[in-house]
Symmetry: C2
Subunit: 468 residues, 2 copies
């Protein structure tokens, strides 16, 4: 171990290779403080070549490597496990935009660039990088791609995967994968970059990404609609999707229990209509220009929806301030949950048309486990993605969550699988869902994944203990 560290420091210098306990300590846990591990060094390279030098030595000495982006993940994928010889490879110093092209509509950036900075850089050039999520001002694009991040605009623009044109990565043996192209079409053999996307640091280290940019959306219009049921939300989705086409930027859902939590714990928010209803849908339309036409379209569609009884009340934003106020009702749910105490979060997806049936039967199953638990269901309804969160019964101690975590998750995931859903829609596997993933995933697919892991990483040094 000493020989490895000496060679690594000789190659990269003591500023890049940090080995003091005090320097390492801040890198050992995830931002939520759920996971904590060990490491012998933190390596913060400034170039792809330095990453390659590091990997060559790690490969030679069989040293496990945990690649770290912005540390905003929710599954512990970027947190080291208990192995004392782990090294943490942080991309934070590789944070340069390599190019933005408004003819080709591409952005090429180092993996350590902060997502929010890339979004703003595109915006300055009158282009849109549509990947948008709560942690965007901390998360790094390399991590976004390595975890195939989602967010609120997936219904229109797809996951991170659909925005990636090319990837540069360093493979475990130190070879540089030169796939940083910006081509829209390239049918020359297997699309290898797809394996790196969503692999959570288990196949290689992403050092650069080429992304496609979209046309800017200068105008937005939002409605909050109250619905009686998930079935009604589904019918409303069908109407809005068909009528608004690619203008449909977000279709979010939350139950009245979620709203209640927000109204209780967050200041300065209010419901735009007098009555409470079982659930709410927040719909955003966006377009390149012509706000009036966009708002008119939204009002027409919502008018039809009210007439056809696909919603029971609705409020369309008449100003940017109103638009933001409506969004806060949805966006503050996570903050309100934090204030309420520990919630058991399940980031799941379902065939969209199965959501109403799932919500019904999942609750029945859940109540068999814990009759009085509290349910908070919200999420990216238009993608079939629910954040199906569960908290302690009223009056119960906050330690309830830790005690019941596994039983609750088992019940939820069993039901998700029965409907052909996914136990991880957008957050990934990491450490958190590894057990459930290995239990539920199709054995043939697991076998193929392990063989592919073997191709890229025969010594198993990339993020051991995560995913597979």
């Amino acid at each position: 171990m000493q020989e490895f560290l000496e060679k690594l420091q000789a190659a990269l210098g003591p500023d890049v290779v940090q080995t003091e306990a005090a320097d390492i300590e801040p890198w050992l846990s995830d931002w939520r403080g759920v996971y904590k591990g060990q490491a012998q060094a933190v390596v913060r390279p400034v170039s792809t070549e330095q990453v390659a030098q590091c990997m060559r030595l790690c490969s030679q000495y069989k040293v496990p490597v945990v690649t770290r982006g912005g540390n905003t993940g929710l599954c512990g994928a970027a947190t080291p496990d208990a192995r004392p010889d782990n090294i943490i490879l942080s991309l934070d110093r590789m944070n340069q935009i390599r190019s933005i092209d408004t003819i080709a509509n591409t952005l090429v950036a180092d993996a350590g660039c902060i997502l929010g900075n890339l979004r703003r850089a595109a915006q300055e050039q009158d282009r849109l990088l549509p990947l948008s999520l709560a942690a965007e001002d901390s998360s790094q694009i390399g991590g976004n791609v390595a975890t195939n991040a989602g967010g609120v605009n997936v219904v229109r623009y797809g996951m991170a995967r659909e925005l990636v044109l090319g990837i540069e990565a360093v493979l475990p043996d130190g070879e540089i994968f030169n796939g940083l192209q910006t081509l829209r079409k390239d049918n020359t053999g297997y699309d290898l970059k797809q394996l790196l996307i969503g692999s959570e640091g288990t196949l290689g280290v992403i050092t650069g990404v080429a992304l496609r940019l979209h046309a800017p959306t200068h105008v937005r219009s939002v409605v909050l609609a109250a619905v009686e049921s998930e079935q009604q939300a589904l019918e409303l989705f069908r109407l809005v999707f068909g009528a608004c086409g690619p203008r449909l930027q977000a279709f979010e859902f939350f139950t009245d229990a979620c709203l209640d939590l927000v109204l209780t714990h967050v200041e300065g928010v209010q419901l735009p209509f007098g009555d409470r209803h079982p659930a709410y849908v927040l719909i955003e339309l966006a377009d390149t220009a012509n706000e009036e036409a966009l708002t008119q379209l939204l009002e027409e569609v919502i008018g039809q929806a009210l007439e056809q009884e696909l919603c029971v009340d609705a409020a369309v934003s008449a100003s940017l301030a109103q638009l933001q106020a409506l969004w806060r009702l949805r966006e503050e749910i996570s903050e309100a949950q934090r204030a309420d105490g520990p919630h058991l979060k399940h980031d799941i997806s379902l065939p969209i048309e199965q959501i109403p049936a799932f919500v019904k039967t999942a609750e029945v199953q859940l109540r068999k486990v814990s009759p009085d638990c509290r349910l908070f269901i919200f999420g990216h309804f238009g993608d079939g993605n629910l954040h199906y969160n569960v908290s302690r019964p009223a009056g119960a101690d906050k330690s309830w969550a830790a005690e019941w975590e596994i039983r609750i998750a088992d019940a939820v995931f069993e039901e998700v699988m029965a409907y052909g859903g996914s136990i991880s829609a957008e957050h990934g596997i990491g450490q958190l869902k590894r057990h459930a993933f290995l239990h539920h995933k199709d054995p043939l697919q697991l076998k193929l994944m392990r063989q592919i892991k073997q191709v890229f990483d025969p010594d198993g040094i990339m993020n051991p203990g995560k995913v597979l």
Copy 2:
């Protein structure tokens, strides 16, 4: 070989397993008549289970398998090579739509369904399956996915890959890969279906696909704009992309030489303006509704383009008949080429912003090989995808093409690679480009592809001699 055939016939019956020379003969060549091979049998299963039975026997007896869709490919990927023991596995009898869902916006179909039929089935439900290409009324969706097909609407909707939600396939050993899900989000491990997409039958047999549908485009508007140069077309693309956003459905390009060919060989077509110009751009906008607003937007943008000198003349379609007449100028190019005699076709892609420089220097290189050859450049400009086609000098014999094919291709591909382009944008590798692919592709990527091939197909029975 006899034992294998007997077992295969016993398992699947003589109607499925056809071994008479007369029955096999029609399956031995590609539709253009460029490639011809041999086979011991044609197998036409009616179910995924029959495909699995077939593959189990092929695997046991190490029999090479050439999967065949609609036989519309241009690279010979679905045509057998000279091995006498090949079997041709045709999916044509697996042609049922399994489901269409207008809430989830998904279509699940057998691999043997004709693309055009699926497009019409979606349209009947007021949804759009946007994959559209010249051969759509013959090509099968399994082949479209296995070759990651492109077409005219990629600029808006992406390649076939971006429409695929799930795949069912039979692996070489007969195991069934059950990936036929319709989920929008599923971050559980490596996205294995991405390897099958574009693998041209070298990893497994696609038996079913789940596709996402888009909102219908009930209104369209088209303009033909004349440009002085590729650089002007590029600037025009920037303007239109930014102003029209997701309405931009097609951005096609062709030179005056292509137009000349169409006017010479195709009846009933005419240029909508008096003067000829160096090149032309055909732009289509489409939207869910409101034709007037769409045409007005297109007229405004083209007005700006004329003012800013991003084009030199333009004609906007005022009726469906005019719209179709404008499209014919672009769509009839292939037919006109056929009438003109053999053309050497190069389906290439480039970083879009490099197209003007490429067109200049590629012609210089080409003229060094053949000073008087004739150049016909057209294609999906908005995707950086050119059909860079070359024909014999005026007065030369038609045998010129066959004689010069390799030298011309070498010159074109060298130049493509110098600009960071791709030697196959949307047509794939097959037999046609295998040599060039193995020569030009990055060695690390080739090595990884071979290892992945080994994982899926250790005995090398899937489409040997194609791609890798």
